[in-house]
Symmetry: none
Subunit: 410 residues, 2 copies
C-alpha cells in the first residue's frame, strides 16, 4: 500500500527548517508495509494546500498531513481538507471544552482564537492530544484514509502511536515485517560498516540501514516476507551474525538509548552515579535525568565550568590544577574522585576538555577531552579527541563518558 | 516571482535522508526575490515525476529539479521532463565527448551507460558540471524557466552559482527583500498572536510568520518590494509597531537565543552567574555554556537531583527541606542563595520541580516548578506550571529561569 505525506507550514519553506516529522512517520509506515511514494511541503496557503491534498488523494490511498492545526489564521489545514473533500467543518463543543479545561489546568484562560481548533471536518474522528491543544483528525476514505496530525513531534508521535497505529493495523492488508535494531557506542560509522558490510551485503532481504549520531551508531534490519516465520527467521539469522561481529560495542538491542542501558546496569547493582562536569557544564547530568525514575540511581554533581570552581566546589588542590592544567588526566581523576566522595555515590564520571571553537587552554587543541571514572576500586581517566564543533565535542564527550561507565559495569 | 523545487530520488523517501539541496537553493532564490511556494520529494518513478513536473509548471513560473541525472535506469529526471513537456530527448555528441574526456582524465573508460547523460531535452541548454559527469539543463519557458540540477551538493552549488544565477538575474524582475526577526519569552504563542495579530493582519507585505518552541516565540517579518528603500521602510514600520506592542517580552532583535542575550547583559555589568539545578540536573548550565566564551560570565553550579544532595552539596537545612518539601519556595530560595554564596557569583538561578511523568513528591503535580533568583539585593522565587511531558517541563524550566534573570537585569 502506498502513502504520501504533506507537511504544512510556510516556515518549512525557508532556508533553515527541515521537515523531520515525515522521516519518523516513514519509519512507522514502513514497519506496517506501507511505502511513502511522495512527500510535499506546502506553505500556509489554503487554496494551494487544498489542491495538493486533492491531487495526492488521486494518487495514493493513505495521505498524512502534518502541521497547520494551530489556533491562528496561518493554520489552514482544517479548512484546506474541508475544501478538498467538499465537506463542512463542524464545531465540536466537546473538543472546545477539552481545550478550555487544558488551559484551566495551567491556570490560564482559553483565548477566543483557540476555538478554531475545535472544528472537525464532517465525518472525521478527533484524535486526542494530551501534549497540546490541537486534536488530530482521522478520516476514513473509500479504500484508504486521510490523517491530520499536529506538527510538533512531541504531539505528533504519541498521537500516531496511540491512535493511528491501531487504526492502521485494523485497516491495512497484513504484511509480515520483522525488524532488529542495534545501538552501538565507542565506534564510528565507517569502522562499524567495515566490520558488518561483508555480513549484510549478501542479503537484499532484510534491508540493512546504518545511522550515526555523535558517538552513537544504529543498525536497522528489516525483513518483509509472505509469512511472519520467514521474516522472523531472516532478521534473526542476519541479526545474530551482526551482533556477534560487533560484540560488546552493542549496548542496546531494544532501542534504549545509552543512558537507559546504563541506568539498568546501575539499578541491577543497587549502585549510584555522580558527575563532575567542566566543559559540558551539566549536559551529562541533564541527559541521564531525561530518563524517568533516574533518581533511583543518579544523585547529582558539580558544574565546575570556571577553573576556580574546581578548587572551590570540588576542593581540588590549586597546585594540582596549575601544575597539570585543567584539561589533564590528573584533574579528570581528581574531579571524579572528589565528586564520588562528596556525593557518596558508587560511581562518578568527570569530564574536562576544550570544546572550542577556540582553545582557551594553552597547548590544548579544541576537541581534546579527558574523561575520568571513579569506582569503588579506584579512579582512572582516558583522553579523547573528538571531531570539531563546540556542540558536537560536548555531545561526544557525554556519550563517551556514559559508554566508559557502561564498559566498566559490564 | 514564485518557485517550486522538486528533489528526485527514492533514497530521500526513506526514514533517514533529508533533502538539503532545497534549503540552500531557497536561500539563493529568496535573495533574488523569488519565493519558494512548495517543495516536493518524488521517487525514481518517471510517470509520477512527469505528472509532478507538469502540475508544478501550472502553478509557478520557476521550477527547479534536483537529482535523478545520473547514468543508471533509476535516473529518470531527463525522461520525465521530456514527457511532461512533450518534447524529445536529443543526443549531444558534444556532451558525450566531454563526459568521455572526463573519464579519461581520471584514467578510466566511459561506460556505455553514461551515454544516457548526454541526452538534452529539446530546447535545453547544457549547464557545465566541473565536479561530476551529469550536465545540468536550463530550459527557458514562456514567462519562466525549468532548471535541472544534479543532486550532489558539491556539483549543484557551483553549477547554480556559476550558470544559473547570472541567467536568473537577467530574466527576473528586480526584487528587494528585507526582513526583521524578533524573539520573545515569557509569553505563549497564542497570547503573543492575540497581541500582534491586529497589528500585522492589515499588512499582506511584509509577510508575518510566528514560530514557537518551549517558552520561546519567534516573529519573522519579510517585505518584498521593487526598491530596497520601500522594503526597508515596510519592515521598519511594521517591526516598530510589533516591538512596541510586545515591549520587554522581546529579548532579541538579531536572532540571538536567550542565553546569548543574558550573557551580553551579564558581561555588560561584569557580573557572573551560578546555578543550582534539581529537576533539570544540569540542563541550564549545559545550555548557557553552549555559548562560546560563556566562561566570561558563567561560573558553575550544583546538580542537586537527589533530595539528600540539597543538604549535602548546598548545605540546606534538613528541617527546611522536610518542612516545606523539595518543590517549594523556601527550598528554591535557599538553593539559589547557597549557590550564589558558594560560588561567589553575582547572580544565581535555582530550579526545583516535578518534571513527571509521575509525581515523585506528594501533593505536587507534574509540571510544577519553582525557580529562584538570588541577586546582590536578595533572593526570591516564583512558581510555574508547565505543560506536561518530562522533556518539555525541563526545557520550559530552563528557558523561564533565563527569562526571569533577563527581566531582572533589564
Amino acid at each position: 500500500m502506498n502513502a504520501e505525506i504533506i507537511a504544512v507550514g510556510s516556515e518549512m519553506l525557508t532556508q533553515d527548517r527541515v521537515d523531520t516529522d515525515s522521516l519518523w512517520l516513514t519509519g512507522k509506515l514502513n514497519d506496517l508495509g506501507v511505502e511513502v511514494k511522495q512527500k510535499m511541503i506546502v506553505g500556509d496557503d489554503r487554496d494551494r494546500l487544498a489542491a495538493a491534498i486533492a491531487a495526492a488523494l488521486d494518487r495514493v490511498p493513505v495521505l498524512i498531513l502534518t502541521g497547520g492545526l494551530g489556533p491562528t489564521e496561518d493554520d489552514v489545514t482544517r479548512e484546506a481538507v474541508a475544501q478538498a473533500l467538499h465537506r463542512r467543518l463542524l464545531f465540536s463543543q466537546e473538543i472546545c471544552d477539552w481545550i478550555e479545561a487544558r488551559f484551566k489546568r495551567f491556570g490560564r484562560q482559553m483565548a477566543e482564537i483557540n476555538k478554531r481548533q475545535a472544528f472537525l471536518i464532517d465525518g472525521a474522528e478527533a484524535l486526542p492530544n494530551p501534549n497540546g491543544t490541537a486534536p488530530g483528525q482521522w478520516i476514513d476514505m473509500p479504500g484508504g484514509m486521510l490523517i491530520l496530525l499536529p506538527g510538533p513531534p512531541r504531539e505528533l508521535k504519541p498521537m500516531f502511536d496511540d491512535h493511528c497505529l491501531p487504526r492502521l493495523k485494523e485497516r491495512l492488508p497484513q504484511a509480515f515485517i520483522r525488524t532488529r535494531f542495534f545501538r552501538a557506542a565507542g565506534i564510528g560509522e565507517s569502522d562499524l560498516d567495515a566490520i558488518i558490510a561483508p555480513i549484510y551485503k549478501p542479503y537484499t532481504n532484510p534491508v540493512t540501514t546504518i545511522l550515526a549520531a555523535e558517538g552513537d551508531v544504529q543498525v536497522h534490519l528489516r525483513a518483509q516476507c509472505s509469512t511472519a516465520e520467514e521474516a522472523e527467521s531472516l532478521v534473526e539469522e542476519l541479526g545474530a551474525k551482526i551482533l556477534s561481529a560487533l560484540g560488546q560495542r552493542v549496548y542496546s538491542t531494544n532501542g534504549d538509548p545509552l543512558e537507559v542501558a546504563v541506568g539498568h546496569m546501575l539499578c541491577a547493582r543497587q549502585a549510584t552515579l555522580a558527575v563532575a562536569e567542566s566543559c559540558t557544564a551539566g549536559l551529562l547530568g541533564g541527559r541521564v535525568t531525561e530518563v524517568p525514575g533516574s533518581s533511583a540511581w543518579f544523585l547529582g554533581g558539580f558544574q565546575v565550568y570556571g577553573t576556580a570552581m574546581k578548587t572551590r566546589l570540588l576542593g581540588l588542590d590549586e597546585k594540582l590544577v596549575d601544575g597539570h592544567g585543567v584539561v589533564s588526566e590528573a584533574v579528570a581523576c581528581a574531579m571524579a574522585d572528589s565528586a564520588r566522595d562528596r556525593t557518596g555515590a558508587t560511581y562518578a564520571l568527570s569530564i574536562t576538555g576544550e570544546a572550542g571553537p577556540e582553545s582557551a587552554t594553552a597547548g590544548i587543541e579544541p576537541g581534546t577531552v579527558w574523561i575520568g571514572v571513579a569506582t569503588p576500586e579506584g579512579v582512572d581517566a582516558k583522553m579523547f579527541r573528538f571531531p570539531s564543533g563546540r556542540s558536537r565535542v560536548r555531545l561526544f564527550a557525554v556519550q563517551t563518558a556514559l559508554n566508559l561507565l557502561r564498559l566498566r559495569l559490564q
